[in-house]
Amino acid sequence: MRNIFLFIRKFSNFLFFLVLQIFSLYFLFTYNKFHEAAFMNVAGEFTGRISQRYNNVQYYFQLKSTNDSLVKQNTHLLNLLRQNYEAADSSTKFFTDTLRVDSLLTIQRFKYYDAKIVGSFVSMQNNYLTIHRGSNQGLPKGKEWGVISPDGIAGRVVTVGDNFSVIMSVLNRQFKVNSMLKKGGETGPVSWDGDNPLYLRLINIPKSAKVAKGDSVITSNVSDIYPPGIMVGTIAEIIDDKSSNFYILKLKTATNFSNLQFVYVLQDLQREERQKLEDPYKKGK
């Protein structure tokens, strides 16, 4: 017994070193796996507030580009209005689809929340964004919600705090989204290889597909957090992988992450029903 105490006293510094290392590595690996870390909520409130101060200043420098992208999105939405369509042919008749009146919200799938970005990084391998909206502002806790910007997809929510939330950006090694070519409909996963924050990587597109530079890539019909048809990026480079039957496509991101100021969080109202159906089959795998 005495020897044990002597040992502890002699190597107290080294043991303390080991204890601190174990603490840090435990924090790191649990966060990478489940995106839950000790004190993350409390710390998120604190760092969020400081980031917000910084953003108040920095926001001014990006007002112009933020405004431009919002106007562009507005124009796109205005073009979809029913009043804009008028056929000269009198045999065509427009009428309101009765299904569109959805006062009980039984068929609405996605609910949009706007959110101001207060902290963002593009310079790391795993990038996260902080938004100023949390459970006090109506964002439900505990689930992963899709996040889109006015120009395209932006990421997904990983931690919802009281007033601030953390978003895993598309520019994150752990991020993956199922997407498809707008022209042909071939689907494949999009991820980021950590190389350049302007480019993503789309794989598993068979060589039989017709691809050209500049083609749009959008979220697919089977994506579980995004509605179909949201822009992911445009093809910037086609890499012909000689060893397989698939192309590797380099995509230019639709969203410019370095001056992103506003995003929309998408709450999937039908998620629970879908998960309840799918879960028994996922467990069996």
Partner: protein, 177 residues
């Protein structure tokens, strides 16, 4: 200004500088991330016990981690730096007893060459460990090697500039009076 107040101000300044200046720089290459913040740990006084040094380094690293949403990553590297620093100081100090005569490691108290040897070894250790933890999750060996070397180069440059811009005049204290 007392050492405590000075170090609290430094703590905040280094964190803010790292988060809102150096990490906002547009990435030049995937190998290059400018890191300067761990200079705080190198600048802590000689008189601190190793346990306290490691504890402060842990809190310091964790604070940065919560800003960057990587809980534990920088804390682990900072604790390693704090653990190794006293060994290097003992090995590299110019004159015996200088750690009693001067307050903290600097060019004045240790001399140019020993001080920068210490800083270089600690920088290399810090980045080596940091990138190693990243490498365990993704990346290749070339990524590991390239990133450690490139990041160390950039960090040494930043530290050199900082040391010249904010030259710390250390008072020679003696206990003979």
């Amino acid at each position: 200004m007392s050492t405590l107040v000075k170090n609290i101000i430094r703590f905040a300044l280094f964190i803010l500088l790292q988060v809102f200046v150096l990490h906002q720089v547009q990435p030049l290459h995937k190998f290059i991330t400018p890191y300067l913040y761990f200079l705080f740990i190198i600048w802590l006084p000689f008189s601190m016990s190793r346990g306290l040094l490691m504890f402060i380094a842990f809190i310091f690293g964790l604070t940065l981690d919560y800003f960057l949403k990587t809980p534990g990553l920088h804390a682990a590297a900072c604790v390693l730096v704090a653990y190794v620093r006293p060994f290097l100081v003992n090995m590299l100090i110019r004159q015996e007893g200088n750690e009693q005569n001067y307050a903290s490691p600097s060019i004045v108290s240790m001399g140019w060459a020993p001080y920068f040897t210490m800083v270089f070894i600690l920088t290399l250790l810090h980045h080596g460990y940091l990138v190693f933890l990243e490498w365990m999750q993704f990346g290749t060996f070339l990524y590991f090697l390239g990133k450690v070397l490139a990041t160390t180069g950039i960090s040494m440059l930043l530290i050199l500039i900082t040391e010249i811009l904010f030259f710390r005049k250390e008072k020679f204290r003696t206990n003979t009076v």
